[in-house]
C-alpha cells in the first residue's frame, strides 16, 4: 500500500507545490503534508506528495552504526 520514493526538493513553487528530483528526473510534487520542507531536503514521496523529511544525519548514523556492528561480529 506504500510505494514511496526518496526525492530531493529542488525548488519550492507556489500553492504548496515543489519541484523534486531523483536520479536527475524531476516532477512537481505537493508539499501540503510537509510545508516545512526546504530546497535541498531529502523527502519521501508517495502519490505525488512529500510525506516526511528523510533525516540524512539519522540515515548516516544508521549506516555508521550498521558498519560498526557488522565489523564487531566478524
Amino acid at each position: 500500500m506504500c510505494l514511496g520514493i526518496p526525492m530531493v526538493v529542488s525548488s519550492i513553487e507556489k500553492n504548496y507545490t515543489a519541484i523534486a528530483e531523483t536520479m536527475g528526473v524531476k516532477r512537481t510534487i505537493s508539499m501540503r503534508l510537509l510545508p516545512e520542507a526546504q530546497p535541498g531536503d531529502h523527502v519521501l514521496v508517495h502519490a505525488g506528495f512529500a510525506m516526511e523529511i528523510i533525516e540524512p544525519a539519522e540515515a548516516g548514523e544508521k549506516i555508521k552504526l550498521l558498519k560498526s556492528m557488522l565489523k564487531e561480529s566478524t
Binding site: G4, R32, L33, H46, L70
Partner: protein
C-alpha cells in the same frame, strides 16, 4: 533501482553483503533452536513485493516463512464497492480517475478496464491532485476520484478534496474506500491470539503518517514487530532487527525506518485527516469480514464531494468460490500455493479471489515473482 537515499553504490554494497551474512547466520541458529522456520507476517503488500523482487525472500527461505498480511488495499476492497465504482463509470458524463492498481480489479461482472473498452471515460492518475486538474479542465464532466488506500494515501486524498474545495469546483467527487491498518491488525490478533506468528514487519509508510507509536499495542499480544522501509537496506535492517527481538524473546516495537517514520508521525497529515474524515463504526474487508473502526468516510462538511452520497450506485451479489482461501492467505494462515485454485483457475488475468487481483496481493506477488 533507486540508489538508496542517493548514497554512492560502494557504501551500500559494503553493508548489504555483511548484513545478509549476519541474517543468514542468525537465521540458521534460530531455525535450529526452534526446530522450525521463523514465521513472520509482512503486513503490507508492498513489502511482499519488495522482499520478493529484491530476491531476499528466496535468500532467506531456508529459515524464514514469510507470510502476507491484510495490507493490500485493492485485495481488501469489497466486491460490492467495485460494483458501485463500475456503476459510477457507467453514468452519463462521468469521468473516473483512479490509481492504476484499480483498473483490472474484477467486480461481479466487469472491470474498469472493460468499461474503458466500452467507451466509458476512465483515466489513470499518479497523484490524487491530478484528478482535481482533470476536473478543472473538464467542467462538463462529472469527475470521480476513487479514493482507495490506507493511512499512507488518505492524507493525499484529503488534500485533493481540500484543493477542489478551494478551487470551488462543483464537478469533483471522491468515492472513499479508505481503510485503517492498526485496527485491522488488532482485530486479527484478537481473533487468533498470535496468528502463530513470531513477529511482524510493519508498513513503514503507514507508520510515517501515523507514527511508529500507532503500533505500540502489538507487544501486548506478546509479539515483536519492526517498522520497516522499502529500499534494499531498509528491507534487510528491518528483517535483521526483528530477528534480534525474536532471538531475545522480546515483545517490543522496533523502528528500522526511524530516518523516515518518527514516533509521532506526520502531524500535519494527521490533522488534515481528522478534519476531512470520520471513522466508520464498522467496515467490511474483503476476505476478513466486518472490522470495527477500520475505515474512513468523509466528514459531513465534505458531503458535496462525497460520491457515495451524490450518486446512486448498484452492487450485485457476487458468489464467492468456496475453494478460494484468500481470507486465510491474508491472515498468514495459508500460503498462496496451498490454495487449490492458485495458478490453475486463479491467475492474474483470471483472478478468482482478491489476493490475485493485484500484483501486490499475496497470490499475485507469489505468482509473478516466485
Amino acid at each position: 533501482m533507486t540508489e538508496d537515499y542517493n548514497f554512492p553504490p560502494e557504501r551500500f554494497d559494503s553493508i548489504a553483503q555483511p548484513l545478509l551474512d549476519k541474517i543468514h547466520k542468525l537465521g540458521m541458529h534460530l531455525f535450529e533452536k526452534k526446530g522450525r522456520k521463523l514465521k513472520v507476517m509482512e503486513v503490507c503488500g508492498t513489502h511482499t513485493v519488495a522482499y520478493a523482487r529484491s530476491g531476499i525472500t528466496e535468500l532467506v527461505s531456508e529459515y524464514f516463512d514469510l507470510r502476507s498480511g491484510p495490507g493490500c488495499p485493492i485485495c481488501v476492497t469489497h466486491q460490492a464497492d467495485i460494483d458501485r465504482i463500475i456503476s459510477l463509470a457507467r453514468k452519463e458524463d462521468s469521468l473516473i480517475v483512479t490509481f492504476g492498481d484499480m483498473l483490472r480489479v474484477p467486480g461481479s461482472n466487469s472491470t474498469l478496464e472493460k468499461e474503458l473498452a466500452r467507451g466509458r471515460r476512465i483515466e489513470i492518475c499518479y497523484s490524487p491532485l491530478d484528478a482535481v486538474d482533470v476536473a478543472a479542465r473538464n467542467p462538463s464532466a462529472k469527475v470521480i476520484l476513487i479514493g482507495i488506500g490506507f493511512e499512507t494515501t488518505a492524507p493525499a486524498i484529503a488534500a485533493a478534496i481540500e484543493s477542489a474545495e478551494s478551487a470551488q469546483l462543483t464537478n469533483f467527487w471522491v468515492y472513499p474506500v479508505l481503510k485503517l491498518v492498526p485496527p485491522a491488525l488488532r482485530a486479527l490478533l484478537d481473533l487468533d491470539k498470535n496468528l502463530s506468528m513470531d513477529g511482524f514487519l510493519l508498513p513503514g509508510h503507514v507508520a510515517t503518517i501515523l507514527g511508529s507509536k500507532a503500533f505500540e499495542f502489538i507487544p501486548g499480544y506478546g509479539l515483536p514487530a519492526v517498522v520497516t522501509g522499502f529500499e534494499h537496506l531498509d528491507l534487510l535492517t528491518g528483517l535483521h532487527d526483528l530477528m534480534l527481538l525474536i532471538a531475545e524473546n522480546k515483545a517490543a516495537v522496533g523502528n528500522a525506518y526511524s530516518h523516515v517514520a518518527k514516533p509521532e508521525g506526520n502531524i500535519t497529515a494527521q490533522r488534515l485527516m481528522e478534519h476531512c474524515y470520520t471513522v466508520e463504526a464498522t467496515t467490511l474487508w474483503r476476505g476478513l469480514g466486518e472490522i470495527s473502526a477500520s475505515g474512513y468516510s468523509l466528514q459531513s462538511r465534505y458531503d458535496s464531494f462525497n460520491a457515495r452520497l451524490n450518486f446512486k450506485t448498484e452492487a450485485h451479489d457476487g458468489t464467492i468460490n468456496p475453494l478460494c482461501i484468500c481470507g486465510k492467505v491474508i491472515t498468514g494462515r495459508a500460503t498462496p500455493r496451498q490454495c487449490q485454485l492458485f495458478g490453475r483457475d486463479c491467475t492474474p488475468s483470471t483472478p478468482v479471489g482478491p489476493c490475485m487481483v493485484s500484483p501486490e496481493g499475496a497470490c499475485g506477488a507469489h505468482y509473478h515473482y516466485m
